[in-house]
């Protein structure tokens, strides 16, 4: 079986199991997974950037753009359909990245990381200073509908969970496919040797720019999913600690599979809620220690448990 088919079947199987498990899960778990998958989408975009050789410390910007676009369209333009709102979030974030990418695509390494962070902090500042968008408080998101059924009553718990699952599975599948195209194959080539990519006839800057836009679209979709699941958005989504957490999830999860960012995000959310519950004053310490343990024991990320056993390359 080819890698592409194995990944596709694995993702579909995980999706089916997760959907079937929905009635068995407590409300808090449904919520936790929905929020985690929203963040996992951002990490999926970061995975693509890391494979291109870039680490962005500003994905919170696109996360927030997606959330605010979906939230604003929901409450002001009365767009109700959740899928349409998620797509809108992705498109809005992609458009912002299309513009910022003109500058970002020229930079690499720490300069790229710092510039991406700078953009996200500018966005944070703008959101805090925008009374129309609720300033520091943000605003509540209008409940959305899935296929005409509103996020209310019994559906309130299941709808965001199923929406997040569907978006996550579709995005992971699409990204995996993209990485197997000629264009997708250029990402690791750019990371390894930009000079040679140019000498084989492709524009490195265009490749970087495109991957920035794709990563931003994923982050925007993640922001929209999170906004619909939580029902509230605020400028913290664009804050640099949020961006830092995305990098954290991506690195801890590992970059060898498109499923890894989601597994990593769910683990981080679980860990966070248990740590907060059992060690309300020292939960950051618990988190930090756990993450340190993972990094020391599995330098290739959590997902390397699977790839190592199969003997595959990271």
């Amino acid at each position: 079986m080819s890698d592409a088919r194995r990944t596709a079947l694995g993702l579909l199987a995980a999706f089916a199991v997760a959907v079937a498990a929905a009635p068995l899960l407590p409300r808090w778990a449904l919520f936790l997974v929905a929020v985690a998958l929203g963040r996992g989408l951002v990490a999926l975009g970061l995975l693509l950037l890391i494979r291109t050789g870039l680490v962005s410390f500003g994905q919170g910007l696109f996360f927030a753009v997606g959330a605010y676009a979906a939230g604003t369209a929901g409450s002001r333009l009365h767009v109700g359909d959740a899928v349409a709102l998620v797509l809108l979030g992705a498109v809005a974030a992609a458009a912002v990245a299309g513009v910022l990418g003109l500058l970002l695509a020229r930079y690499r390494t720490i300069f790229f990381a710092m510039l991406s962070l700078a953009f996200s902090m500018i966005a944070y500042g703008l959101l805090v200073e925008s009374p129309a968008l609720g300033s520091t408080d943000g605003f509540n998101v209008h409940p959305a509908t899935v296929a005409g059924v509103p996020f209310a009553g019994r559906a309130e718990a299941y709808a965001p969970y199923l929406l997040a699952l569907a978006v996550a599975a579709a995005a992971a599948l699409a990204l995996d496919r993209f990485q197997r195209t000629h264009l997708g194959r250029l990402a690791p080539a750019v990371r390894e040797n930009e000079l040679r990519v140019e000498y084989m006839g492709a524009s490195v800057r265009n490749v970087v720019h495109l991957n920035l836009v794709i990563a931003a679209a994923l982050a925007g979709a993640g922001g929209a999913v999170t906004a619909l699941a939580v029902g509230h958005i605020d400028p913290e989504m664009a804050y640099w600690t949020t961006s830092g957490e995305f990098v954290f999830v991506t690195i801890v999860a590992g970059t060898s599979s498109v499923a890894a960012p989601f597994a990593g995000a769910i683990l981080l959310e679980l860990l966070r809620s248990y740590a907060v519950q059992h060690a309300p004053n020292t939960w950051q310490l618990v988190m930090g220690a756990t993450m340190l343990g993972i990094i020391l024991a599995l330098p290739g990320g959590l997902w390397s448990i699977f790839t190592r056993r199969r003997g595959a390359r990271p």
Binding site: T181, H182, L186, E192, N193, L195, E198, Y199, G201
Partner: protein
């Protein structure tokens, strides 16, 4: 015969140093040309100017009569001028096969295909396997390029340049870093593949025996100028070349 590559008064200055100091060369289609000269003579600068890696201070480069001076290297590559590197430029964590697929994929994209070959061409994966076979690289197919021995990486670098079917192939010291007894085998392999494709070849080489046997024409560089140009026997015997490039007789006897 028509000139496929023509440079006119190519000058490249780095501050007070002229790395290329008025290079005017016409290369006919289908010829194999050797570039010789000591370190810093301007051979690699010449390749960098032709491929667009460096913009000349003055002068022009024409490919099939078209002015390509100042075009970025990716555009020049797509026109059909490819090069290999003195230090192999491969994608270290990608396998040998994936290394080839990068360039072949770019060609396929040029034909509008995002997967497969486009326009009914041969699938890039099959081309890659054939190229690996031809360059005796099949055994290294699925190994990351970064762990391959230097000589094998060198071969892979040349294979990458040749795989995209260039009209002109520029090889920068294809045999440096390759052991003496493997040099001729490597050049046989490279030139054999090149003859099948009817490519015009310019290659930088320090091994005069190789230059004598493998080329039809030699350009001798010294201090950014071409000091001799002609058939290998004549150029290698020219007194100025012997003094400035090859070294006095006796010095290099038995070197290869």
């Amino acid at each position: 015969m028509s000139a496929i590559l023509e440079t006119e008064g190519l000058v490249k200055r780095f501050g007070a140093v002229a790395a290329a100091d008025g290079i005017s060369v016409r290369v006919e289609e289908g010829t194999v040309v050797g570039l010789i000269g000591g370190n810093g003579a301007g051979k690699t600068t010449f390749l960098n100017l032709v491929t667009g890696h460096l913009a000349p201070t003055s002068g022009t480069v024409r490919f099939e009569g078209r002015d390509i001076t100042g075009l970025p290297s990716r555009r020049i590559t797509r026109l059909g001028i490819c090069r290999s590197f003195q230090i192999p430029q491969v994608f270290a964590s990608l396998t040998a096969r994936e290394n080839l697929l990068v360039g072949l994929g770019i060609v396929a994209m040029g034909r509008g295909a995002f997967v497969g070959s486009g326009l009914g061409g041969e699938p890039p994966e099959e081309v890659a396997d054939r190229v690996l076979d031809r360059f005796h690289l099949a055994a290294h197919r699925d190994r990351p390029a970064g762990v391959l021995p230097e000589g094998v990486r060198k071969l892979l670098d040349v294979a990458m340049a040749l795989s995209v079917k260039p009209r002109i192939l520029l090889l920068d010291e294809p045999t440096s870093g390759v052991s003496a007894d493997e040099k001729f085998a490597l050049m046989d392999l490279v030139l054999g593949a090149i003859r099948e494709e009817r490519v015009t070849v310019l290659f930088v080489e320090h091994d005069m025996e190789l230059v004598r046997t493998c080329t039809e024409r030699v350009l001798a560089f010294h201090e950014g100028r071409v000091i001799a140009d002609g058939p290998p026997a004549a150029v290698l015997e020219a007194p100025e070349v012997r003094r400035l490039v090859v070294g006095e007789p006796g010095l290099r006897e038995g070197a290869c």
